[in-house]
Symmetry: C2
């Protein structure tokens, strides 16, 4: 059983760990066009749930950075904002995945030794 | 060829991606006692180089959070500060590794589909 302080420390580290990977997960999911709800559902199904208060600001930021494109369209009689990777986002995503695989290898190596 | 702005966006995301994993790498490397230089060397050899200006503040922070213990000792006629995981750090590290493996699976799943 952890003290509440240990628990808080863990939660803090857990969030730091998730933050960078969440961006990668979002970019990966948006190689296909999706709107907010289906994106959240996709992330949740993959084991990475994210609340709206985190996701929507992140989408706006990634769009402002030129990694995403979005478009309002009507579907089932409701206007929805659809997001997808921009060409630049596709490039950046590919490079980040390489980076991520390399980091993964490093962490695994350090975990195996000595 | 990327514009300097795309390059800056990528670097920024790359750092976010590394930040969380770096903590995991440091904790993993400190299951064995190490001092600053050998720790940096270990991280670099594993493909995760980190500069002193990042590493030393991180070590102080992780020690303040109770995850690391440290001790000054003389070795080769020089005083060195040796770090290692505390018992609590060992626990937290194990939980973070589980979390990290789960995140990894999620990112891989999102990368595969469809």
């Amino acid at each position: 059983m952890w003290s509440s302080q240990t628990q808080a420390t863990f939660e803090n580290l857990r969030l730091e760990l998730r933050r960078g990977s969440l961006i990668l997960a979002v970019l990966g999911a948006l190689r296909i066009e999706r709107y907010g709800y289906t994106l959240r559902k996709t992330l949740e199904d993959a084991g990475m749930p994210v609340d709206e208060g985190t996701l929507y600001p992140l989408l706006r930021r990634l769009e402002a950075q030129g990694l995403l494109e979005s478009e309002w369209r009507e579907e089932d009689k409701r206007k929805k904002r659809f997001y997808r990777l921009s060409p630049m986002g596709t490039d950046v995503f590919a490079r980040l995945m390489e980076e991520w695989l390399q980091i993964g290898q490093a962490v695994r190596d350090l975990h195996k030794e000595p």
